[in-house]
Assembly symmetry: C2
Homo-oligomer: 339 residues x 2
DNA sequence: TCATGGGCTGTAAACGTTTACAGCCCAACG
DNA sequence: CGTTGGGCTGTAAACGTTTACAGCCCATGA
């Protein structure tokens, strides 16, 4: 099998020769920089398409001192959020002429940084505070996703309205569905999302003059099995409740299962709602009422801010995208109206 | 806000100076190419870590005529298969020192090609035959995922054992569960996966001496809503059947819903099985018996083959990874044994 | 007529690596 | 002692762009 150089053999020089111009002019046409006569533009374009010329990226990057490359740092590729988030980023990057490099943590270090990207998107806790500080000290462009910067650092971040979403959902449970005793299943204690969702829940309670009971609060850890155990225990203890607000859809799944295994009907005996609107939530029995987070827009906004930071040197310090509550059947609202 | 060059300022020259050696030697140490004395290695390593030197990727690529970059082409970022597939690819690429560039089709062309990558992974039908032929003519390294090359082209491809999986599942339905009348819901007519799954289904029938009835075959199109309609119609026509083998999990979801809405119990009245083992399949009611496709390994294998093609000039023409059948409750097998 | 200046173009020096080539030193060998 | 050769090192020429700078041409105005 013959070996052929993998990189395209046609260079800007070939184009220049064919068009009867210099490489400088060809470059100016390609990048729309500097003044070029119409005739030259035409000839360059012709030569380019005849030769199928594609500029060599590496040379371009080296000469222009710009990578046109964004890095995405995360510790693992998985989860329902990933495809939409990446889709949003890809769209944003592409529109601005950037490429996206994905790097997962391995061996304690990432394969992206100032040497091969113009800036990075830091997903959640994929970078610890020390690393963040170090990059910030070099004033390397970064934007954080789903988590605010550590104290003292001015790094833009984008996330969504966890608190408002949880509050709206709790409002719905109280106002539309008429529930009073509403339990909340929070996530891991160091989780920002969990913190704000709980805040939203409490604020709604307070706004409606409903006292907060700490025995209606437990940790489901954003995990279906842990949530299952917690709920089974609640039921075993004879806890009475109108509804359970699970901090995320995972724990809502565990909750529904636990209730059903305990012989309770959802939503007739106890209503259940979740948070995230993960793909499986609409196929649950009953279909889950939940809060939809604008994951895709979140990714899109993040690259938009990052590019602004790279090109203009500034970005909005904080962007919180609005959530939307999705009413299906597990909250008992529709069921109550239809009959 | 001060602008700072985004690319790392420390060059190989700085390292060389600090180590009291030439750039050539530093390069040799960095890339483990050519003979270098222990003492020099030590000094270079010291200088590198003191200066936090990271080689500029663009310069490296330009000089070495190697991009160390793989492209992944797909028409859309979505679906349950995506995260595991990407995870597999990322692992494989990283192990071999390559980076991964993701490109979705937009405006009829992709942002990756010979000018910025050493080879590409072509997902399913993201590239049409003409484009494939063109790249093949330039002998640009490619590997195909989930679909064989068009007639006459020698492009390696990796997929999984659709036929064997479907056959094993049908065997299970017949042998373990004791069903005889088994319907099959196929996917889109031009879909390779669908074609082989149907083949597996038919082969199993034949091997067990069960006649194939064309009225037990319909098109669910790998879509839950279409499957829903088809199954409702079947039920309306009074079709009697022991089990329905849905061509994928999506259509299995539609099938279960249709059956339930028609007042039929799954699996007591009619068993249902799917294909893919998508994340939501285990949370369905009842949990879905299905075939697990080794998506992650598939991604891993694909980059392995691609890299072999790039570096050694050859790869295995066809790799079919084995599937595994996952028995849960929708097939009625466990339910039958437990009581 | 000549000076001015704007539009367009070309020359050539970067950019930060890799690597062919040549050269040095020293041990081993005749 | 002179030659050989292997291990190690340095010099400098690529790699394919961008872009500062200089220069040309020609229309314009004095």
């Amino acid at each position: 099998m013959p070996r052929v150089p993998s990189s395209s053999r046609i260079t800007i020089e070939d184009v220049a020769k064919r068009a009867g111009l210099s490489t400088a002019t060809v470059s100016r046409v390609m990048n729309q920089t500097g003044p070029v006569s119409k005739e030259s533009v035409r000839r360059v374009q012709l030569a380019v398409s005849e030769l199928h010329y594609k500029p060599n990226l590496a040379a371009k990057q080296l000469a222009s001192q710009k990578n046109n490359m964004l890095g995405l740092l995360l510790d693992e590729i998985s989860g329902d959020f990933f495809p939409p988030m990446l889709r949003g980023m890809e769209t944003g990057a592409r529109e601005a002429g950037y490429d996206l490099l994905i790097a997962t943590m391995r061996g304690g270090s990432y394969a992206v940084g100032p040497h091969n990207t113009d800036g990075i998107l830091v997903f959640d806790t994929s970078l610890d505070e020390a690393q963040l500080r170090k990059l910030d000290a070099e004033s390397f462009p970064m934007v954080l996703l789903y988590r605010p910067p550590p104290r003292g650092l001015q790094i833009p971040y984008v996330a969504f309205e966890n608190k408002d979403g949880a509050r709206a959902m709790t409002d719905h449970l109280i106002e539309q569905c008429g529930y009073q005793r509403i339990a909340f299943l929070r996530g891991p204690s160091d989780n920002q999302d969990s913190y704000w969702r709980e805040r939203g829940y409490r604020e709604s309670l307070e706004a409606h003059g409903i006292a907060f009971h700490s025995d209606l609060l437990a940790t489901g850890d954003f995990d279906d099995e842990i949530a299952y155990k917690v709920v089974r225990q609640w039921v075993g203890e004879g806890l009475t409740v109108d509804a359970i607000f699970a901090g995320d859809d995972e724990s809502a799944i565990g909750t529904i299962l636990a209730l059903r295994d305990a012989g309770l009907r959802v939503p007739e005996d106890i209503a259940v709602v979740g948070f995230d609107d993960s793909p499986s939530s609409r196929h649950l029995t009953p279909p889950l009422t939940t809060v939809r987070a604008p994951i895709e827009q979140t990714g899109f906004e993040a690259v938009k801010q990052l590019i602004s930071l790279i090109e203009k040197g500034a970005a909005q310090p904080e962007i919180l995208l609005p959530t939307e509550i999705i009413i299906r059947e597990s909250c008992g609202y529709k069921a109550r109206r239809l009959p």
